[in-house]
């Protein structure tokens, strides 16, 4: 298909896919030639996880138009359930990719179920009230996981909410209350992260450009009108919310499988806000922006590590500057003008070329 004949959205989506693929290839080449610092190498999987978190939250905040402040809660639900499955599976099989994919699926499904449980009551609210309840939900998940003890032995899984009551017969403790996940099989890989990003992008883009996605955007724009044309508001709200939760769950598994231990407080309010920052900075409804923002803002603190004391200061300044710059009409117009000039130049050249061909 030619770029020119495609409509605007398709073209924009293709550019996003291409951007992710190119970034992946470049990183792979750099990995191959050893041109990447070990510190940054350790960031590759978290970046992938954060990107998935950002685009999935963008589905709720940007496309559905409801502010959710508890997105890390879904990540947590996915991470803890997925890693338990991964630990169980990795005792029986050594195929890491298979274990990771299966545990991600489980993590996604669990997060989706949690999404339904939370979504049904929460989505009756909207605006500030919804935001507050999602915030509380994130804290509830954290609270539950902080008091969760799961162990695995020969007779199977043992689950308890009270310390030292697992009644295990040997075996090992998988989730140890506030100590969190321990002894995680570190099976996460950059490639799987890349594939997860692509799948999530595929799902979101295709959803948005279909009947259901239109319905979701319609109720963002005008609920009463949406009802008047026969769109079931609750269903579509819930659909967007649950898909978003499932993706966050999978991202959680990917994230956790990159470390040997993960505690519940890793997925707290601050993480939810961090992800919201990615979304807002990248632009509501703008998936490409979310990807870029997530990448830059995850890499930045690492790059700034050499500034040690001033690291977070510089980070904050960069954040503010980015926000001002992306919302500055003069700057935006200037960029647009420059871009259209470049595009115009390019077009002229191709036209000339075509004429020459004739």
């Amino acid at each position: 298909m030619k770029l020119k004949t495609m409509n605007k959205t398709t073209r924009s989506n293709m550019i996003t896919y291409a951007m992710v693929i190119i970034a992946f290839v470049i990183v792979q080449i750099m990995l191959g030639t050893g041109n990447i610092s070990s510190r940054l190498q350790g960031q590759l999987v978290p970046i992938c996880a954060y990107i998935v978190m950002a685009i999935s939250l963008n589905l709720t905040v940007g496309v559905l138009g409801e502010l959710s402040l508890g997105h890390a809660g879904f990540m947590s639900a996915g991470a803890f359930s997925g890693i338990v499955v991964a630990s169980c599976l990795s005792q029986n099989t050594s195929n890491e990719i298979l274990v990771l994919v299966l545990s991600m699926l489980v993590g996604g499904v669990v997060a989706a179920i949690v999404g339904v449980i939370v979504g049904v009551p929460v989505l009756r609210l909207s605006g500030d009230y919804l935001a507050i309840v999602t915030l509380a939900f994130g804290e509830i998940i954290k609270g539950i996981v902080n008091n969760l003890y799961v162990g695995l032995d020969g007779s199977g899984l043992h689950i308890s909410l009270i310390k030292n009551t697992l009644q295990m017969d040997g075996g090992k403790v998988l989730i140890n209350g506030p100590m969190g996940l321990t002894g995680i099989p570190r099976i996460a890989s950059f490639t799987v992260g890349f594939i997860l990003i692509m799948v999530c992008l595929f799902v979101i883009f295709n959803l948005v450009n279909s009947k259901s996605g239109r319905a979701i955007m319609a109720l963002r724009d005008n609920k009463i009108a949406a009802q008047s044309v026969g769109i079931n508001i609750t269903n579509y709200k819930l659909m967007a919310f649950v898909i978003s939760a499932a993706m966050a769950g999978m991202a959680g598994v990917l994230f956790a499988a990159n470390f040997s231990t993960v505690v519940a407080s890793k997925f707290d309010f601050n993480t939810s806000i961090l992800i919201l920052v990615f979304v807002v900075l990248g632009g509501l409804g703008n998936m490409r922006g979310s990807i870029i923002a997530a990448t830059v803002l995850t890499v930045l603190p690492e790059v700034l590590r050499s500034f040690s004391d001033y690291r977070m200061l510089v980070y904050a300044v960069v954040l503010i500057v980015m926000m001002l710059a992306t919302n500055n009409p003069t700057l935006k117009n200037g960029l647009n003008l420059a871009w259209s000039k470049i595009a115009g130049l390019f077009r002229k050249n191709t036209e000339k070329g075509e004429q020459a061909n004739v």
Partner: protein, 510 residues
């Protein structure tokens, strides 16, 4: 089962729908809001392919009837039969699926989506693929998207809007947004289409076109249409049956001819169109020795917009001030309805239903927007009426609602102008005297203010408009007077004045 038109008069309508059950039968329909009967004992029957009208003064409950029919509100009394089926217990979505589609008085489009997407959303329940098929791009997705795309363009073609398909709905001009709402409603394949003030804010030629299109829609789709509209020419020109609502009750039903000649309808809604509301005779005003107003006579009839145009210092503002009692003329006569205004103190004049919006806005800067508006209702103790007036002000000026807690002095010039007009509206005036409403406003705001003035007039408020911006003022007015150094030098139909060479030369810049 009573037909809306009781006697088979000219035959055409009844022949067409004869022997067919009506599409809509509402009986004893009613709703109470906290003891207030917004709609009471509403009975209406609409034939299969009838175009019916619902008219009545502001706050009569017309939109509430639409909200009851579409189940935005659940009625507290009565039944609604749609195509013979009781809609009791259905919600808004089910009613739409059952065959009622509507447009909204204050346009409700999906403004960040494209025109085509808006229409496709209308087809939501007639697009046959599920979410999974959509995400995985199964063959059914492509088939259905292609079909709905073509159908959307077909529907847009009714209003010649295919070329706008890719545009964002929110970026369309006002008239096109109204038309798009109709197309979106049609896309849901209704049996009954409810149009809430479809011609509001449209100019005469657009209205004419809309009339034809509404008829065309009925003929092509063979559906019934029920519409709310203030433009009587539109209503009488297109509707086969009309019901008149006042204070939530139907006061008259019948053919357009029957309704407009019904004495009760004339009294409560139409008013005597030819009646003179304001009459100024041989008015003379002096500022000390200066003879500012020289023997002016003018009149304003009910329902008119009359523009008084002229250069700076011609005496326009002085004339208005003399009318509203703010200064005493030396001689002459000013009568409003049966009242002699020259013998009435200024604050009493407001009680007669004549409100003056002074030049330079004069809002109470240290009060909030809401307090300013409440001041406008100072004379009225009727809380329900005040609330309705406030709602109506906010409907015309949504920006005031956004800023209702802000101090009036911090508003922009345009917003202060809106506030000044809104404050005058709080006294439920029958007539407004507007002094230079466009002064010091940006061209875009000027346009908006004039649009609002026109809407107010369509809602039944008679307007005497004083303006330097002669072109705009004359283009919305019915008649006009041209003032020059205190004398009326020209008067006549606004359209003629606009074409008049002398006027063109003096005020319109050649």
């Amino acid at each position: 089962m009573s037909k809306m038109i009781p006697i088979p008069s000219t035959g055409y309508l009844n022949e067409r729908d004869i022997g067919k059950a009506p599409i809509l039968e509402a009986t004893h329909l009613g709703i109470e809001f906290g003891g207030l009967k917004a709609v009471d004992d509403f009975n209406l029957t609409v034939g299969r392919t009838e175009i019916a009208g619902l008219i009545g003064p502001n706050g009569a409950g017309k939109t509430t009837v639409f909200n009851l029919l579409t189940k935005v509100y659940q009625p507290t009394h009565g039944t609604i039969l749609l195509d013979g089926k009781d809609t009791h217990g259905m919600n808004a979505i089910q009613v739409n699926k059952a065959g009622i589609a509507r447009t909204f008085q204050n346009i409700r489009l999906f403004s960040s989506l494209t025109v085509e997407e808006n229409v496709k959303l209308g087809m939501h329940n007639h697009t046959h693929y599920n979410t999974l098929e959509g995400i995985l791009r199964m063959p059914r997705y492509w088939q259905e998207e292609k079909r709905t795309h073509e159908r959307a363009l077909e529907l847009l073609h009714i209003f010649d809007m295919e070329h706008l398909a890719e545009h964002k709905a929110g970026s369309l001009p006002y008239g096109a947004q109204r038309r798009l709402e109709i197309v979106r409603a049609l896309a849901t394949e209704p049996k009954l289409l409810l149009l809430d003030e479809p011609a509001a804010g449209m100019n005469p030629s657009e209205t004419e076109e809309l009339m034809e299109n509404v008829r065309k829609i009925r003929d092509i789709f063979q559906i019934a249409i029920l519409l709310i509209e203030h433009d009587m020419q539109f209503v009488t020109g297109i509707c086969e049956g009309i019901a008149v609502l006042n204070y939530g009750k139907i006061i008259a039903k019948g053919t357009p001819q029957e309704v407009i000649n019904n004495p009760e309808v004339i009294r409560s809604y139409l008013g005597n169109r030819r009646a003179i509301m304001l009459k100024v005779e041989n008015l003379n005003v002096y500022y000390g020795m200066i003879h500012a107003i020289k023997d002016i006579s003018l009149e304003v009839k009910r329902g008119e917009i009359v523009s008084l145009v002229g250069a700076n210092g011609a005496g326009k503002t002085t004339t208005l001030q003399a009318i509203s009692g703010m200064l005493k003329p030396k001689s002459g006569k000013v009568s409003y309805l049966d009242h002699n205004l020259l013998a009435t103190p200024a604050h009493k004049i407001v009680q007669y239903g004549l409100s003056h919006v002074p030049e330079g806005r004069r809002v109470f800067a240290q009060m909030t927007v809401l307090e300013n508006l409440e001041m406008g209702a100072f004379i009225s103790k009727d809380k329900v009426k005040n609330k309705n007036n406030l709602d109506s002000v906010f409907e015309h000026f949504p920006r005031l609602e956004e800023r209702k807690r802000q101090l009036a002095g911090t508003l922009s010039g345009g917003e202060q102008q809106m506030l000044a007009i809104g404050r005058a509206m709080m006294a439920s005036p029958d007539m407004l005297l507007l002094d230079e409403p466009s002064m010091g406003l940006s061209p875009l705001l000027v346009k908006e203010i004039f649009k609002i003035i026109k809407e107010l007039n369509e809602d039944g408020i008679t307007i005497l408009l004083v303006e330097q911006n002669a072109k705009q003022a004359l283009s919305i007015a019915k008649r006009g007077y041209v003032l020059e150094t205190g004398k009326i030098v020209l008067s006549g139909n606004a359209a003629d004045l606009l074409e008049n060479d002398a006027v063109k030369k003096a005020y319109l810049g050649g």
